[in-house]
Amino acid sequence: MMIESLNYLPQPAASNASLAERFTDLAPAMTARQAAIESARCLYCYDAPCTRSCPAEIDIARFIRNIHDDNINGAAHSILKQNILGGSCARVCPTEILCEDACVRNHVEESQPVMIGLLQRHAIDNMAFAAHPFQRAAATGKTIAVVGAGPAGLSCAHRLAMLGNEVVVFESRERPGGLNEYGIAKYKLTDDFAQKEVAFLLEIGGINIQYGQTLGGDLRLTELHERFDSVFLGLGLGASRELGLTGEDAPGLLAAVDYIAALRQADDLTKLPLPARVIVIGAGNTAIDMAVQIARLGAEEVTLVYRRGVEAMAATSHEQKIAKANQVRLRAWAQPQQVLLDDAGRVRGMRFEKTLMTAGRLAGTGEVFEIAADAIFKAIGQSLDVASLSDPLAQSLQRDGNKIHVDAQFRTSLPGIYAGGDCVAPGQDLTVQAVQHGKLAALSIHGDLTAKTEAS
């Protein structure tokens, strides 16, 4: 990975054990008593606003009532039925802008929503099924290729398997889970949860994951299209956006997602390169995850720079609070102008230009300032890796901007090829939404194959 380009930096001084303590659960699980008290607060709304705001359509009032009635397996089943990755979503969902924002107890007079995310985690963490809670339907004889073992692909594979199909999942990395394994802050998904969750998901049977298989590399869409009854593309967004500045490839400047992936995979945190002064460019949750994790690893000065105002940040207020609590400095209204390099050609800082809104457009003021830094991490967004769609068939896929075009049934422009998750046009790049896409695409794939079989 590109993180090797930082190897000239020092390594953390603290021991691995003490570093690991800084990456324990940021929002620890509820105790059974807390869950009992909190679940009692749910009003069991009809046509509940929380459920309407859940991208995966989880029946929240029902699972919370089940928790309160001491029916944890019933609660877990109703969550997993809609969202097989309900455990990781309980940890990573921005509930403050979804279900908990919609909670009727979040009205002005009370301003205290039911802690739905933590209750969902309580149900999943404490479920105890004798066997996998979902059974497979009678075999259809169909085999579907799923590209990408991230949330969209896994969700799609699970639902397809449940419907009686065989599934082969092609994953370019060494482990399944996608962003849950490589992209989410370590303190949000602790104890190897992403792998445990995938292992649980695979218990349904009928899913074969092949690793090190990269679409556009050794894997070609043309072949998949020929070999399988249908193909689902859950590619994610593999490419990091560029700043478009000279020195972008200099040692000391790299994509936040690459560092986060290395941090997530590190067995020994003391072996990670640790810059003392850090600049993070961006305003989304990945920028916050990057800034907070490097601060926790021991960086002395972490500055998050955003070209617009705080109110325009994509990171939720909850995320911003986490950043503040970890002494991350936020610098708004400034855009990168120049990467500053030392004599060895390594990053020594960055020059920014102050910005303002003028006539509804963001513009530079001409006033500049510099921030010294030993490393700069860019978290200015991800995009579809065009290399993955390089073979002729893939190139013919209709696009919406730089994403894959799909219809309401997650069909691409090519018959038999479906797509979902972050790589398709509609969406907010949320894990829970990727899961929903995968689930709905599976239903669509299964329906289309069934219709075709019946017609022939």
Partner: protein, 424 residues
């Protein structure tokens, strides 16, 4: 501040709050603590024949609410398990030390006049202010021909009450069991026997819950459970009705009533008094929270009385009795309609689903372009049942507005829709 003192059939008490006969009044130690906490009186735990009763382990169980608050409480404890001599000695000492407090002694014996006469003489010698006849205990004792076994037979109630009035000069309060079809019958019998007052309700036959693993009712004794006596907040509505039934019965009108059943705060007490009770007795709330609760009860009642301009308990005692009537005398022309305050509505949809599924389909769910729900009463369909107001989690969001029908009072006996109207 309002004067909370009462004179209940000759028994004087600085406030209307008495501890009911039960575990909290079993011995001097507890009663002293109660008086130190400023309870107005106690009804000493029921005395009986020697040798004393023997109790089992365990004894209590509960019916819980959503937050593990105790809604109902059940016990299988018998009458005092201490010797008669010990109890009488302590009663004598306590009454001497606390002369301003009411001290009533609860009694239970088999239906033999001599037994009653002998015990009454001993009790009268203690200086106690009155006696309460335990005709209500629903567990254990009825199997031995006592407690509710007496209270369920009006002839026995009258007979034993008469013995007590014959052999004692103390005021006699007859404690009634709710485990009966019509509570007015034993109340009338008590009055016929010369009772100075009745107290009610005693506990209700109950099984609060089961241990579904062991398949046994709680509280568990060995591998079995038995029915217990139910009390606590859950029984208050039943007790209020029974108090009202006796208070408005022409046969027993004016008979002093000591109200018992789920009283835990000043408001509960005020309700019992408003329906005709002259004193109130508390047990479960004290068992759950300790004797200190009487301070809040006294303070709350007194401040409420001040706010209403009531200077003495007697000024509002029984004030709601006259407004408690038979269904046939309700005004057929009265009409209320639900009103939803859209500003305080939190859009939980509870009123909607309740009305739609189980009532009169009188609430519309309106969905605007943004998907926001609005719940609106369909006034023509609303029968004014109160269900939506009850389901609403927000206080005063749904109110029942009285409609001006322009029609005069007309009850069912006068209603032309009644086939029996006007028929004598």
């Amino acid at each position: 501040m309002a004067d909370l003192s009462i004179d209940f059939c000759g028994i004087k008490s600085p406030n209307p709050f008495w501890l009911a006969s039960g575990p909290p009044t079993d011995k001097a130690y507890n009663v002293v603590r109660a008086f130190e906490a400023r309870w107005g009186g106690v009804v000493w735990k029921t005395l009986g024949e020697d040798p004393a009763a023997v109790n089992v382990s365990s004894r209590y169980s509960a019916h819980y609410g959503k937050n593990r608050e105790v809604l109902g409480f059940s016990n299988i404890e018998l009458i005092t398990d201490r010797s008669l001599e010990t109890n009488l000695r302590e009663i004598t000492q306590i009454k001497k030390a606390w002369p301003d407090r009411a001290l009533i002694v609860s009694l239970m014996l088999p239906c033999e006049e001599k037994l009653w006469r002998d015990l009454l003489l001993l009790v009268e010698a203690t200086g106690a202010d009155g006696i309460e006849l335990n005709f209500g205990c629903p567990h254990g004792m009825p199997e031995r021909g006592m407690g509710a076994a007496v209270g369920q037979v009006p002839e026995y109630v009258e007979m034993v009450t008469r013995w007590c009035k014959t052999h004692s000069t103390l005021p006699v309060i007859v404690k009634l069991t709710p485990n009966i079809t019509d509570v007015r019958m034993p109340a009338r019998a008590a009055l016929s026997g010369g009772a100075d007052a009745v107290s009610l309700i005693n506990t209700i036959n109950s099984i609060t819950s089961l241990d579904l693993d062991r398949m046994v009712a709680l509280p568990v004794v060995g591998n079995s459970g038995t029915h217990g006596g139910y009390c606590g907040p859950a029984v208050k509505p039943i007790a209020l009705n029974m108090v009202a039934e006796i208070a408005r019965d022409p046969h027993t009108a004016g008979l002093p009533i000591s109200g018992i059943g789920g009283i835990g705060n000043w408001r509960d007490a005020a309700e019992f008094i408003a329906l005709g009770a002259g004193s109130v007795q508390v047990c479960t709330a004290a068992m759950l929270h300790g004797f200190r609760i009487v301070e809040e009860m006294k303070d709350g009642l007194s401040r409420w009385m001040d706010g209403k301009g009531y200077k003495r308990i007697s000024e509002f005692a029984g004030k709601a009795t006259a407004n408690t009537t038979d269904w046939k005398y309700l005004d057929m022309n009265y009409q209320v309609i639900a009103q939803i305050n859209q500003d305080s509505c939190i859009r939980c949809g509870r009123c909607y689903v309740a009305c739609e599924d189980t009532s009169h389909q009188s609430i519309a769910q309106l969905i605007d372009a943004a998907g926001t729900r609005r719940y609106q009463v369909i006034e023509d369909a609303c029968v004014g049942c109160n269900l939506c107001e009850i389901t609403c989690p927000v206080e005063r969001c749904i109110t029942m507005a009285v409609q001006d029908t322009g029609k005069a009072y007309m009850n069912w006996t006068q209603d032309p829709r009644n086939p029996q109207a006007g028929v004598r």
